[in-house]
């Protein structure tokens, strides 16, 4: 009953419930997401979204942010701060900018964003000179960590390079070295193949064939829509599918011409979080989330939850709500945030990317967690995932 009440209160009056005044000053965190975000589109002609095992549900990270606020409410005694969230759902980049301006008027200076990479590039460029903090909860685009990086933008979401590095480590460790690549028609599929190509090169895999696919049944395009043709190459150990849309990718496992594991957009998928993970306190997090939202906790939820936790940690440790102090803490040696997937996590100072383990998950099980045993880095094994300081093109 208490649980039910707690979740009701959260649903109805999220900012108010968590900002009750009993002495501690309130810090309001802005949270922005988008009404039309293609990553959360309902999908297909089916009565239910077939990518979901239950029904159409909102997969935006807001649910994770609400769990984060619930956790932050318990930090009040040691952080000497009450945390509140101001959420706005907007339609475009201009909407994010105007909402951030409105929230700043009201005193907010730290913002968590659940928006696609392209939008985030525009938003962070427009706010580059501002004395605020932006936390990217969900965008994986590599350019955000390279040429489009900003000193006031921190990435809790993993980069695409980190995700493909995790896959490449697993393929290498399993000795599945010869890979065919199936690439979809969207711009993000091109980026995904570029990231995987870099990872394959880095970890010594060989891409033996790379093919473009389209979703369809047209017999005249069978070299591009028929798996017998697409996977008919001479020899390969595994198939990497780049398919941000996702429907084609679902049809690939168990349909390849040769018996081979499928990785990437289906089969074994690199993720920042999966509900089946059972170690490092993850079951407790899944439990708290599911009781609050009656669905599985996804990657966007994890990104938003950890964003909130990182802010709370910085405030508790620095005893300050000041933007500069939080940023300095994020970029310091002392920074650690616990995401319930193993080691304490910190930001890479060369591009403000959170270093973190990556899960390699099937639909219902985490098969491996990268960094894979044996892949060692000079200072921190988590830095075997993603671009190194030497590789990256971020200039701060």
């Amino acid at each position: 009953m208490r649980r039910l009440l707690a979740s009701l209160v959260l649903v109805m009056t999220a900012p108010l419930a968590l900002a009750q005044d009993d002495g501690a000053p309130t810090m309001t965190i802005g949270y922005l997401d988008m009404a039309e975000d293609p990553r959360y589109d309902e999908w297909g002609i089916h009565p239910v979204d077939i990518r979901s095992s239950t029904a159409i549900v909102d997969r935006r990270g807001l649910a994770g942010a609400e769990l984060g606020m619930e956790d932050l409410s318990r930090l009040k005694r040691v952080a000497k701060t009450s945390f509140a969230m101001d959420h706005a759902r907007v339609t475009n980049t201009a909407g994010i900018l105007s909402e951030i301006a409105r929230m700043r008027e009201a005193g907010a200076a730290v913002f968590v964003l659940d928006a696609p990479s392209k939008v985030l590039v525009e938003v962070s460029a427009a706010l580059a000179a501002e004395n605020i903090l932006l936390l990217n909860a969900t965008a994986i685009g590599d350019s955000l960590r390279n040429e489009d990086c900003q000193t006031n933008l921190f990435h809790v979401a993993a980069s695409r390079a980190m995700l493909t590095d995790a896959l490449a480590q697993h393929l290498k460790e399993r000795n599945w070295q010869e890979i065919i690549v199936l690439q979809g028609p969207l711009a993000e599929d091109v980026e995904s193949v570029a990231a995987f190509t870099r990872s394959a090169d880095l970890f010594g895999l060989e891409i033996v064939d790379a093919r473009l696919f389209v979703l369809g049944n047209d017999p005249r395009a069978r070299e591009m829509n028929d798996l017998d043709f697409l996977t008919g190459s001479e020899d390969y150990d595994a198939v990497f599918v780049a398919d941000v849309h996702g429907e084609f990718a679902l049809s690939v496992p168990h349909r390849t011409r040769k018996p081979a594991p499928v990785v990437g957009a289906s089969g074994l998928v690199p993720r920042i979080w999966h509900w089946s993970y059972t170690r490092h306190g993850a079951p407790q997090v899944h439990g708290r989330f599911e009781r609050l939202h009656s669905r599985r906790m996804g990657e966007a939820d994890w990104g938003a939850w950890v964003s909130m936790k990182a802010i709370g940690e910085a405030v508790a440790r620095t005893k300050s709500r000041n933007v500069a102090d939080i940023r300095d803490y994020f970029r310091s040696e002392k920074m650690r945030v616990d995401g319930s997937k193993g080691p304490g996590m910190s930001f890479r100072i060369w591009n403000n990317q959170l270093r973190q383990p990556i899960m390699l998950a099937t639909q219902d099980w985490v098969s491996a967690r990268a960094p894979i045993e044996g892949f060692k880095h000079r200072t921190n094994d988590l830095d075997t995932l993603g671009q190194s300081e030497r590789e990256m093109a971020c200039g701060f």
């Binding site: 306190g281 439990g287 708290r288 616990d338 304490g344 921190n380």
Partner: protein
């Protein structure tokens, strides 16, 4: 190699039985809770053979003896209670209330009440040991409460909050939160020095031990762990054992596969003992000649000879061994 261990072991057993003190007081049994198998393994302390595997409720984790050592309490988290094992019969003889998802618990020194962390509900439950009934629930104890440690005077209990990175000081007799102190990341278990002056707590992700004044709760210092070839992120301190003279603490280091031997006065590590993967729970036998640790990721326990700080045996138990207690 195996022969030499056996010989060493045989020598040890002869030596132990020779002076006649080690297992005189109790059964000599080593109890190990197997979190993933829903069992408790009973190991004979003389032969180091598993003599019985007791079926328990779901997800057995922390265990404690009754003050008279006739009963062993086992928190069966999945079944939302604590089970009582009769040590004479090695069977589950009853249950007591402990709130939802009980994990770590402790009895107060007088044996009247039992205080347990309810990890999922972010609560602490206080139970009357004799009646087995719940007395009170303390809410708002941070996120994922875990370690429960009584000060030896029984007046306050230290509760770690894993996801809030803090230690709460609670008066369990009235259910009042007295104080809360920020420590390192993911604090797990605690121990109070025998002189009642210091409270030590492991920080699993911080890779350190924080020390608080057990009376004023102010931070006194930290223990750091460092060893060539041991990765900082693999150093995950979890559990303790401490000698009765308060001079030596043994700290299990998780993924680093070692147990640190710490000089309590100087807070310096004297030695690292190799154990198994994800070494976790720890207990000393009565004369402190043996330290037994559970290895969560290799499904076994390591027996360590504390004279030369060397592992002398490893015994397979069930899946994911959590806690070890020795009745000797």
């Amino acid at each position: 190699m195996r022969t030499s261990i056996r010989l060493a072991l045989a020598g040890l057993i002869i030596c132990l039985t020779g002076n006649g003190m080690t297992f005189a007081a109790g059964t000599g049994y080593i109890f190990v809770s197997n979190e993933s198998d829903d069992t408790v393994s009973v190991i004979d302390g003389g032969s180091f053979e598993v003599i019985k595997t007791i079926a328990t409720g779901d997800r057995p984790r922390d265990m404690r003896f009754s003050p008279d050592r006739t009963r062993l309490y086992v928190a069966t988290s999945g079944d939302d209670h604590i089970e009582v094992i009769n040590i004479a019969t090695l069977e589950v003889a009853g249950t007591i209330e402990a709130g939802e998802d009980p994990e770590i618990f402790q009895l107060d020194p007088s044996g009247k009440i039992l205080v347990v962390a309810n990890e999922d509900d972010n609560e602490v439950t206080v139970t009357d040991v004799v009646s087995g009934k719940q007395l009170r629930v303390i809410e708002d104890v941070g996120v994922e409460p875990e370690g429960i440690t009584f000060r030896h005077d029984g007046k306050v209990v230290f509760v770690t909050s894993e996801a809030t990175n803090s230690v709460l000081i609670i008066d369990p007799w009235v259910g009042k939160i007295i104080d809360e102190v920020l420590v390192g990341n993911r604090p797990r278990r605690g121990i109070v020095t025998p002189d009642n002056k210091e409270y030590w707590v492991t920080n699993e992700l911080g890779g350190t031990v924080s020390i608080l004044d057990a009376q004023t709760y102010s931070p006194l210092g930290q223990v750091y762990f460092e060893k060539r070839g041991m990765r900082q992120e693999d150093i995950n301190p979890v559990d303790f054992a401490m000698t009765k003279d308060g001079k030596t603490a043994y700290v299990t280091l998780g993924r680093a596969r070692h147990v640190a031997v710490v000089d309590v006065a100087s807070r310096e590590v004297e030695e690292y003992i190799l154990a198994g993967d994800r070494v976790w729970g720890a207990a000393l036998n009565r004369d402190e000649s043996l330290l037994v640790v559970t290895n969560g990721a290799s499904d076994d326990v390591t027996i360590i000879d504390t004279d030369d700080n060397r592992a002398i045996n490893a015994i397979s138990v069930g899946r994911t061994p959590h806690t070890v207690r020795i009745d000797d």
